[in-house]
C-alpha cells in the first residue's frame, strides 16, 4: 500500500484526536468494567481507536459513532478476557471521582461512593453489569445497548432490569443515605 502524504496523515491524526477527545472516557470505562485492570483496558483503548480509524469508511452515520466505537471496545475486551485463565483484580484502578467542579468535602464523598460503586459493579454478573454500564453510566438508548452487546432489545432490557435490582440490593446503605 502507498504510504500517506504528510497532509493525509495530519488529517487522520486530527480525526483520531476528535474521536479520542469525545469518546475516550466511554471506551475506557467499557474496557475497564470488563477487564478490571488499567493496563489491559489501556491496551483495549489503543487497539479500539486504531481499528476505528482504519474502518471509518464503514461508518455511514456519524451519529452512531459512539455505539459503534463501544461495540469495537467491548469485543476487544471480551477477546482479552477469553485469553485469560482468571481475572486479576487491580486495587489501584478504583475511580477517583474527581471532577473540576467539586469542592473538597463533596470530592471525598464522591470518592467514597465511586469506590463503593466500583466494588458493587465488580461483584455483579458480567452480562448484567455491562448492560447497566452502557444504559446508566454511558446513557446509551436501549437499542444501542443491545447493539453493542450483540443481543436483542428485550434481552437488553432484562439485563438492565436485573442489573439494577442486583445493585439495589448491594447498595442498601448508600440508598438509605441518599434518600
Amino acid at each position: 500500500m502507498t504510504p500517506m502524504s504528510d497532509e493525509q496523515m495530519d488529517a487522520l491524526i486530527r480525526r483520531l484526536e476528535e474521536l479520542f477527545v469525545a469518546h475516550l472516557d466511554a471506551v475506557f470505562n467499557v474496557a475497564h468494567r470488563v477487564l478490571w485492570n488499567r493496563s489491559d483496558a489501556e491496551d483495549v483503548v489503543q487497539n479500539s481507536f486504531l481499528k476505528a480509524v482504519a474502518r471509518l469508511d464503514q461508518l455511514r452515520d456519524d451519529g452512531r459513532i459512539r455505539p459503534w466505537l463501544l461495540q469495537i471496545a467491548y469485543r476487544e475486551s471480551i477477546a482479552v478476557l477469553r485469553k485469560r485463565r482468571e481475572i486479576p483484580v487491580d486495587p489501584m484502578t478504583m475511580p477517583d471521582g474527581a471532577t473540576p467542579d467539586r469542592g473538597p468535602a463533596e470530592l471525598a464523598v464522591g470518592a467514597d461512593l465511586a469506590r463503593t460503586l466500583a466494588a458493587a459493579l465488580e461483584r455483579m454478573n458480567p452480562d448484567e453489569r455491562m448492560a447497566v454500564v452502557l444504559r446508566d453510566i454511558e446513557e446509551l438508548p436501549m437499542r444501542e445497548v443491545a447493539m453493542v452487546i450483540g443481543i436483542g432489545i428485550s434481552a437488553a432490557k432484562m439485563r438492565v432490569s436485573r442489573g439494577r435490582a442486583a445493585l439495589r440490593s448491594m447498595l442498601d446503605k448508600e440508598l438509605a443515605d441518599a434518600m
Binding site: 487522520l12 483520531l16 479520542f20 470505562n29 489503543q46 486504531l50 460503586l117 439494577r164 439495589r168
Partner: protein
C-alpha cells in the same frame, strides 16, 4: 396492576415505553402501594448513583500519554 406486574415492567415504565393504558395503570398502582413506590425510587436512585459515580476515570496525564501512543502507532503502521 399488581406488584409483580409492575416489577416485571419497571424498566419499560422508566424508559417511558409502557404505552398510555399500562402507564396509567402503573401510576394508579404506585399511588396506592408504598412498597412499589420505594422500589421505583430506589431503582431511579441506583441508576443516578451509577451514572454519577460508576465511571472508571482516566487522569489528564494518562489521556495525553495514551493519545500520543495511539498516534505514534498509527504513523508507524503507515510506514511499515
Amino acid at each position: 396492576m399488581r406488584c409483580e406486574d409492575l416489577a416485571e415492567r419497571l424498566t419499560e415504565f422508566l424508559e417511558g415505553e409502557l404505552g398510555p393504558e399500562l402507564e396509567e395503570e402503573a401510576i394508579e398502582h404506585l399511588a396506592t402501594c408504598s412498597h412499589c413506590e420505594v422500589v421505583l425510587a430506589e431503582t431511579r436512585e441506583v441508576a443516578r448513583l451509577a451514572h454519577d459515580h460508576g465511571r472508571a476515570v482516566v487522569g489528564t496525564a494518562d489521556r495525553r500519554r495514551m493519545f500520543d501512543e495511539i498516534a505514534s502507532r498509527l504513523k508507524s503502521s503507515d510506514t511499515d
